[in-house]
C-alpha cells in the first residue's frame, strides 16, 4: 500500500524533463520534494496527475498496487490521487459548493447526503478560516492568492483522497496562511493520507515535520534523508547538489 513511482521518465513536447524518478509514499506519511527552480518538481506533479501535455515515456505510477500510468486525470483522481495546484484555475459560474459535491460524488462514486455534506464543508471551511459565503462564490474567480490556496486545502480535506500531491501550496503565502496549510496537511496525514509535498522553500517545514525529504535537481532525485536535509538546504541552498 503506497503511492509508488518507479523510474519515471517524463517529456514535454519531446524534451525529457524527468530522467527516471522513483518515490514511495506510504499512507499517513509526508514526503517533501525540494529543489531549485526548473528542477522538474512541477513536472512531477503534473505527470502524476495525468496532465495531457506531460507524456510519460517510461516508468510506472501505482496507487495501492493499481497501475495508473496510462489512465486519464479523472480516472487517477478516482483511484485516490489528488493534486493541489500551484496555480488553481478559475471556473466561472460554478459555485464552490456545487464543485465540491460534484467532485466528491465523482471520486467516491456515491450520492452524497446533501445536508451531511454541506455540514462537512462548513466545518472544513471554518478550520481554514473561510467565511460561509465562500461556498457560493465561483471556483477561484476573483480569489486572492491566499484564497485560491485555501480552496485547494479545502478540497484536500473534503474530497478525502488516499494520496495528495501538493505543488508549492505554500508559495506566495504569509506566515499565518502557511501555518493554516501545515495544520491541514497534518490533519490529512493523521487521517491516513499519504502526502507528497513539493516545495521550493523549507519554510513550511518549520510547522510540519516530513518523514522523508528528497532533493531533486535536473530531473533526478539526487539525495534523500530526514528533516535535517531540509535544514541543511535552509542554510546552504541547493548549490552543493547541482550537477
Amino acid at each position: 500500500m503506497s503511492l509508488k513511482v518507479s523510474n519515471l521518465h517524463v517529456a514535454v513536447e519531446r524534451a525529457e524533463i524527468l530522467h527516471g524518478m522513483s518515490l514511495d509514499v506510504a499512507p499517513g506519511s509526508v514526503h517533501a520534494v525540494m529543489g531549485p527552480n526548473g528542477s522538474g518538481k512541477s513536472t512531477l506533479a503534473y505527470a502524476l496527475s495525468g496532465h495531457p501535455r506531460y507524456s510519460i515515456t517510461s516508468g510506472k505510477i501505482c496507487v495501492d498496487e493499481v497501475d495508473i500510468t496510462n489512465l486519464g486525470p479523472d480516472e487517477r483522481a478516482r483511484a485516490g490521487l489528488f493534486l493541489s495546484f500551484q496555480y488553481p484555475v478559475e471556473v466561472t459560474g460554478v459555485p464552490v459548493r456545487q464543485f465540491l459535491r460534484t467532485a466528491y460524488e465523482a471520486i467516491h462514486q456515491v450520492q452524497a447526503n446533501p445536508l451531511e455534506f454541506s455540514q462537512k464543508v462548513k466545518k472544513e471551511m471554518s478550520g481554514l478560516h473561510l467565511d460561509p459565503s465562500f461556498a457560493k462564490r465561483s471556483v477561484n474567480e476573483g480569489f486572492s492568492g491566499g484564497e485560491k490556496k485555501r480552496l485547494e486545502m479545502l478540497q484536500l480535506s473534503v474530497l478525502e483522497p488516499k494520496y495528495a500531491v501538493l505543488d508549492e501550496t505554500d508559495s506566495g503565502l504569509d506566515v499565518d496562511a502557511i501555518k493554516l496549510v501545515a495544520e491541514s496537511i497534518k490533519r490529512a496525514q493523521a487521517s491516513g493520507m499519504g502526502i507528497l509535498l513539493i516545495t521550493h522553500y523549507p519554510r513550511i517545514l518549520q510547522f510540519l515535520v516530513p518523514d522523508q525529504v528528497h532533493i531533486v535537481t535536473d530531473g533526478r532525485r539526487v539525495k534523500s534523508g530526514d528533516v535535517r536535509l531540509a535544514h541543511y538546504i535552509e542554510q546552504h541552498g541547493y548549490e552543493s547538489f547541482q550537477p
Partner: protein, 463 residues
C-alpha cells in the same frame, strides 16, 4: 372533442369545402379571408389581415442574415382547424424528442401536450385557482382569439401599434395569418405575484405557428410572462413566425421569459418589441436552443424619462443550427438605460450570431447603455459572429461594450478532471457556468430543465 363542441356552441356553420381548402398548403387572399371568417372576427380585423397580406406579398425576403430564401412559402400550412391539430399520433413524434422528454423528466400528459398529440395540457385544476385569483385582481389573461372576441376595444386600441404590420415581411405574414398567442392586461398598480405561463390558458390552441401576443401593463403594475417551455416542441410545419407586442406604462415592470426549443427543422422568425414609458422597466429573458434557424432580436423602445430596458439573450447552436439572436435598444427619451447581455455557445458545425442595435439620437441626454456579448466555441468547426451596431448621436451618454470569444481551455478541463470529473461532465460544467448569469434569471424549474438540456446536448456531442 372539446374543440368541436365549442364550434357548435358558437353556431359557426362549418363549410366543408373551405376546410378542405384550408388544409392545403400555401397562402392566398382567399385563405386569409377564410381564417378571419372562421374566427368570426370583427370587420376591422379582417381588413387588417387583408392589408397585411398585401404588404407580405410586396416585401422582399431580408437579404441580410442567414439564407431565408430557402423557405418555401407554398409548402407551408398556414391554418388548420384545432380538431385537425390533434390528428398527430404519439407514435409519429420522433424518437429523439420522446427520449429527451423522458430524460428531463416531464410527465407523460405534458409530453403529449408538448408534442402536439393533445390539444391542451390538462392543468385545469391549477388553472382554475389561478384564474380566480387573477380575476379578482382584474387581470385579463386569454388567448388572443378570445381576447379579441371579449375585449375588442382594447385589442383594437393596441394591436399592431408596437409592431406595425409593415415592419418586416414576417410581421406582415403574422398579421395576415395570426392565430393563438396570449392577450394580457394588467390593471393599474396590480402586481401579479406568480409568473403567467402560456400553457395555463384554458381553451388555448397550443403554441401556434403564427402566434400573436399582446401584453399591456398599466401604470405601476408588474407581471412576469413565461412563453413556451424548455422541452423540445415538435412541429411538422417548418415555419414559426410570431409577433409579441408589449406596452409598459409609467412605472410598470414587465418581464418576458422565453426558452424556445423547436424541433430542428423549424425556421423561427419572431418579432418581439416593447414600448417602455416613464420610469417603467422591460426585461426580456430570451433563450434559444432549438430550431434550424432562429432570427430574433427582442427590442425595447425607451419612450419616457427614466425608462429601463434589459435584454438577456442566450443561444445554443448544435450541428446544423444557426442562432441569430441579440437585442435592440432605442433610446427615445432622455435619462433612459439599456442593458444587453448575450451569451452564445456553438457546438460542432453550429453557428451563433449576435446582432444588436443601440440607438441614442441627438438630444437624448443622460442615457446609459451596456452591451456584453460572450461567445463560447466548443469545437473547431463551430462558428460565432457579432454584428453590434451602436448609433450614438448624443455626446452626453455613458456607453460600454464588451465582447469575448472563448474556447474551453485545456487547463480548465484538466483542473476539473483532476477532481475525478469525467471529460463530458467537466465540459458541461464549464458551459453551464458560462450561461449561469442568465440561467439564474429564469424561473427555477426552467433553469433546471435548461441545464439538463445542455447536458444532453453535450452528451450527444461525445456520442
Amino acid at each position: 372533442m372539446q374543440d368541436t363542441k365549442q364550434f357548435q356552441q358558437k353556431n359557426i356553420e362549418p363549410n366543408p369545402v373551405a376546410y378542405q381548402y384550408m388544409a392545403q398548403p400555401g397562402i392566398s387572399l382567399k385563405l386569409v379571408n377564410e381564417i378571419s371568417h372562421f374566427k368570426s372576427e370583427p370587420e376591422w380585423m379582417r381588413a387588417r389581415r387583408l392589408h397585411a397580406f398585401d404588404i407580405f406579398l410586396s416585401k422582399q425576403i431580408p437579404q441580410w442574415g442567414c439564407g431565408l430564401d430557402k423557405i418555401d412559402f407554398d409548402s407551408i400550412h398556414y391554418y388548420m382547424r384545432p380538431v385537425e391539430k390533434r390528428a398527430t399520433n404519439w407514435d409519429d413524434v420522433p424518437q429523439d424528442i420522446r427520449h429527451t422528454y423522458e430524460k428531463i423528466g416531464i410527465p407523460e400528459a405534458e409530453q403529449k401536450y408538448l408534442a402536439g398529440v393533445m390539444a391542451q395540457y390538462e392543468s385545469e385544476a391549477v388553472y382554475h385557482s389561478l384564474k380566480e385569483r387573477l380575476e379578482k385582481q382584474g387581470v385579463i389573461f386569454e388567448d388572443m382569439d378570445t381576447g379579441l372576441r371579449k375585449y375588442p376595444e382594447i385589442v383594437k386600441q393596441y394591436f399592431g401599434t408596437v409592431v406595425p404590420t409593415g415592419d418586416n415581411k414576417f410581421s406582415a405574414l403574422n398579421s395576415a395569418a395570426w392565430s393563438g398567442g396570449s392577450f394580457v392586461y394588467i390593471p393599474k398598480g396590480v402586481h401579479v405575484d406568480i409568473p403567467l405561463q402560456a400553457y395555463f390558458r384554458i381553451n388555448a390552441e397550443r403554441v401556434g405557428q403564427f402566434e400573436r401576443t399582446l401584453i399591456i401593463a398599466d401604470e405601476g403594475s408588474f407581471v412576469h410572462y413565461v412563453e413556451g417551455c424548455t422541452a423540445p416542441v415538435y412541429r411538422a410545419d417548418s415555419l414559426h413566425s410570431g409577433v409579441v407586442e408589449i406596452i409598459v406604462k409609467k412605472g410598470a415592470r414587465v418581464r418576458y421569459t422565453t426558452v424556445q426549443n423547436w424541433s430542428k427543422n423549424v425556421y423561427n422568425l419572431v418579432t418581439k418589441r416593447a414600448f417602455v414609458y416613464e420610469d417603467a422597466t422591460m426585461e426580456w429573458v430570451d433563450g434559444n436552443l432549438g430550431s434550424k434557424l432562429t432570427m430574433k432580436y427582442p427590442s425595447v423602445y425607451l419612450l419616457g424619462r427614466g425608462a429601463k430596458g434589459n435584454i438577456l439573450s442566450i443561444a445554443f447552436a448544435g450541428s446544423g443550427q444557426h442562432q441569430d439572436a441579440g437585442g435592440k435598444a432605442i433610446h427615445g427619451a432622455p435619462d433612459t438605460t439599456s442593458t444587453i447581455i448575450s451569451k452564445s455557445i456553438s457546438k460542432e458545425t453550429g453557428r451563433t450570431s449576435y446582432r444588436g442595435l443601440v440607438s441614442i439620437p441627438k438630444g437624448m441626454t443622460g442615457c446609459k447603455s451596456l452591451v456584453v456579448c460572450d461567445a463560447l466555441l466548443l469545437d473547431v468547426s463551430a462558428r460565432s459572429d457579432t454584428y453590434p451596431i451602436m448609433d450614438i448621436r448624443e455626446s452626453d451618454t455613458v456607453m460600454s461594450h464588451e465582447a469575448s470569444v472563448g474556447k474551453i481551455g485545456e487547463e480548465q478541463l484538466f483542473y476539473l478532471m483532476s477532481r475525478g470529473i469525467k471529460e463530458q461532465e467537466a465540459r458541461s460544467m464549464i458551459v453551464q457556468g458560462f450561461i449561469e448569469p442568465i440561467a439564474k434569471e429564469l424561473p427555477l424549474e426552467y433553469a433546471l430543465e435548461l441545464n439538463k438540456l445542455i447536458q444532453l446536448e453535450m452528451e450527444n456531442s461525445v456520442g
